[in-house]
């Protein structure tokens, strides 16, 4: 691998110096300028307070921020959706756009836009996440709107039907996307038997949703002592908690007996799965394994590993599958962290005729990472990307607050915020090798989404392949 990079670099250097010599240009043009010292990233503290009804408030002060962001993080997410109604948390998230007992949906939209606001709500494995961004002078009005949504929701059969129809249409569109399908099937297999499996619900689950279960979910989980509020803008913690308390003091807590969430278990064997998408012209390969409970510090080694394997155009998968072999259009890899464990996954979009060879190369690169230490140079380059990319992802106000909200959703805090850079800097080759040996040596599940008819010869190269239809339903297992 390193030899290959070295050859490319030598080739580049020769070409460059020839061109430069020929043009008789200024000397400074011939060489890439050195960077200045790395600037300090100063981030505001996450200040927190809890109200008497159990509502936890975190405020992040941003001076002169023209937009204020308000997030509500309701713990539970899809993992607490009842077995008989998977996806119920998604229904809950849809209800925030259906108006209240006091105002219709159209009237609420009007109120939101009148304060320069926009709203988004989603559900993931662990939380229902409500995000609201508005012009800074309208904090009081924004809090009134949010309080009304929480205290006077409209949760009738009619609203359920509207959300069912919206989610169904949205999912039908997503199911035409091979990347979405490959990831959904991968998630279902990786977390089979774990509460996180419910996050991968399909369209048939939407029919099971009903207002009775919705009311029950709302009554249990949309409670102040199960909620965190995150406010990001030019407002301090005292003013924020006073204003929030003023509008949400009638929100009553409820006794919660949290069910302990077990760490997910790694797959018991390596599996190759194929989702038949007849219309697809390319094949999407997603491969992943589970990250059970993590030891402190491993996250940053895993983040570095994700960069090193497929995080950039200088990463191993990209150089192998695209630059060297010409198989892939793009590659990616990254760890994801949830409240209980997480997953490490990678993705490559390849030509159908090289699917089997691509899977072999992916496993080659994974095994190599578990056997040999990456060079310090490679590790430093991966860390450089993480360090440099971190402030970039905070540049937009909603990404800034969204990043902190995601931390809160998984129960994280300053580790991945103010101490992000120092934690990345502490990563070295040993830590990366240990993380790779611990997690990438586990069995991987590979899901390929593409046209089965065109890939028939390729599939014959694997000992065993589980075939799924275009909706992600298991069809059959084919053996060599």
């Amino acid at each position: 691998m390193n030899l290959r990079i070295a050859r490319i670099l030598v080739g580049l250097a020769v070409g460059v110096s020839l061109a430069a010599a020929a043009s008789g240009q200024e000397r400074f043009r011939q060489k890439i300028p050195a960077p200045d010292p790395r600037p300090e990233l100063i981030l505001p503290r996450l200040e927190s307070v809890t109200l008497t009804n159990g509502l936890a408030i975190t405020v992040v002060y941003r001076e002169a921020a023209p937009m204020t962001s308000l997030h509500l993080i309701f713990s539970g997410g899809e993992q607490v959706s009842p077995e008989k109604t998977p996806g119920l948390a998604t229904l809950v998230s849809g209800m925030f756009g259906q108006g209240t007992q006091l105002h219709t949906a159209a009237e609420m939209e009007e109120r939101i836009e009148s304060i320069g606001g926009s709203m988004s709500v989603s559900a993931d494995q662990d939380v229902v996440l409500f995000g609201f961004h508005f012009l800074e002078e309208y904090l009081d009005q924004a809090l009134d709107i949010v309080a009304e949504m929480i205290l006077f929701p409209r949760l009738g059969d009619r609203e359920v039907k509207i959300v069912q129809s919206m989610v169904s249409a949205e999912m039908a569109a997503q199911e035409r996307n091979p990347v979405f399908m490959a990831h959904r099937v991968l998630g279902k297999i990786l977390f089979a038997g774990h509460p996180y499996e419910k996050f991968g619900f399909d369209r048939s689950a939407i029919r099971t949703w009903n207002s009775r279960d919705l009311l029950d979910y709302w009554d249990r989980y949309i409670r102040p002592n199960n909620t965190q509020v995150l406010l990001t803008g030019s407002v301090n913690i005292n003013a924020a908690s006073r204003k929030i308390s003023h509008v949400l003091n009638l929100w009553r807590p409820r006794d919660l007996t949290p069910t302990p969430l077990p760490p997910p278990r790694p797959p018991d064997r390596t599996r190759i799965c194929f989702v038949d998408l007849p219309q697809a012209s390319q094949c999407t390969i997603c491969a992943g394994t589970v990250l059970p409970a993590l030891v402190p510090g491993e996250r940053f080694a895993l983040l570095t590993l994700g960069q090193l394997l497929g995080g950039s155009i200088n990463s191993r998968l990209f150089l192998n599958l695209r630059e060297s072999k010409g198989y892939a259009y793009e590659t990616r890899s990254r760890p994801e962290f949830y409240r209980a464990g997480g997953a490490f996954s990678l993705q490559a979009i390849v030509r159908p005729e090289v699917v089997a060879a691509s899977v072999r190369e992916i496993f080659f690169e994974i095994r190599l990472l578990t056997r040999e230490s990456a060079s310090s140079k490679e590790i430093e380059e991966a860390k450089f990307i993480l360090l440099g990319g971190f402030p970039l992802q905070l540049d937009r106000y909603d990404n800034y607050s969204g990043y902190i909200a995601a931390l809160k959703a998984t129960g994280d805090g300053e580790e991945l915020w103010s101490r992000f850079s120092e934690n990345v800097l502490e990563v070295d080759s040993d830590r990366v090798l240990k993380a790779a040996q611990k997690y990438l040596s586990q069995p991987f599940v590979v899901v390929i989404a593409g046209p089965r008819e065109i890939c028939r010869d390729q599939l014959a190269e694997f000992d065993e392949v589980d075939i799924f239809d275009a909706r992600g339903q298991f069809l059959e297992t084919i053996k060599k």
Binding site: V16, R29, I32, P39, M67, S114, S118, I385, L386, G388
Partner: protein, 448 residues
Amino acid sequence: MNLRNSGRRIGMAAAVLVWAAMLPAQAPLLTGVSHYTLKNGLTVIFQEKADLPVVSVAVGYNAGSIYEAPGKTGVAYLLEKLMMFAGSANVSPLEHISDINRVGGTLNAEALEDQTLYYQTIPSNHLAMALWLESDRMRTLDLSEEKFEKARTDLLEELRNRRTSEPFLTSLQTFDEFLYSDFSFGHSLLGTENDIRNLTVKDVKSFYDALYVPQNAVLCISGQFDRIRTMELVARYFESIPGGKVPSPAFELPTFARVPFSRTVDDPVASAPAVFLGFRLAPPGSPQARIQTLLDYVLLNGRSTRLNRKLLNREAKIAFQLSGGIERRYDRSVYKIFIIASPPQIQACCDAVFSELDKIKRAYLSEAELAKAKTLYRKDLLDHTATSTDRAIFLIQAFWTQRAVGRSLDDALAETDAILKITPAEIIAIVNRYYVLENCVILYVRMK
């Protein structure tokens, strides 16, 4: 590189092009703007914001498909691809992308009808590298026959793929031909297959040599940086590049008869029937243009705006999809509306649009509705200048917009206050003048 598809293009028109035309003055979000010109004619814009150690470097060339000659369509877009991937005298192919990526940065390019933009965002300590990379491709693009062939093959494949898979792309191109009516403005940025096949390296080089020169370019640096040191770096990397000439385009505005115009076309990949409506507006920079900008937030730009309510009403939805907004090409502005609906509802959608316009013409526009439109405008402005990349692109587009109509960036920087003072009567007058059937081009799209 990132040529937006037809649907998004229309959807984004309000987002990008409105703001290009209308830049705020003392709006708090866009403080720290200054600009100057190098000896070789390169305009340099600074926008300082120091809260995060991030900086964006963007270069915008006054070079798009409107400068293509008949028979040479596609050259602007092809050149954008070569700028991204071909390399330059000191930068090997893909090295620009690799260098930016290696420090955690992001980059992209965008060819439009009237300008082409290249931009990257990086940690602020790598500013010199970004300036070095941009100056190298401005100075000496590596245009070998082999790279040209590769880019042309890729472009032809993209063209085939998009024409056979992207709904409404071909019908949008037909609509543009009717709406703009002259070759320069009406032809597609993607070019035609036949023209692209006949292009030569010489054609691309001529386009590059004539238009990718400092006199015809703007460099914008936005984010956290030291002004004095940055001025030194800009001088070092850009000032010795030969300035070239300012192109003097002779675009004549066609005369349009004020008569209703409608046509019907078949779209082989349309997923449902659709209709395009287009109104020719007053040019950017004019007093009417400000009013047009605000009107967009009454009509379409926002979920609670009139057309959204009328066509996508939850109780009586008559359209599947609605998008649109102001689109500006050089010195021209149009207002586009695009609607997808079921066959029996297409005409009802058109009628609904004109019915809403009629209501405004009959003086049905309250101060409260206008106040909401102004709030939406401010919010949208903040949204589209939220990142250092956004601000750099925004300032460059504003610069070119104003230049096209003989105004300066400073003129643009004085317009927000004026927009926030617009009255209902001014809106009603604009609707009566421009948003009428006699000034409207309608294209019905049938599924084939």
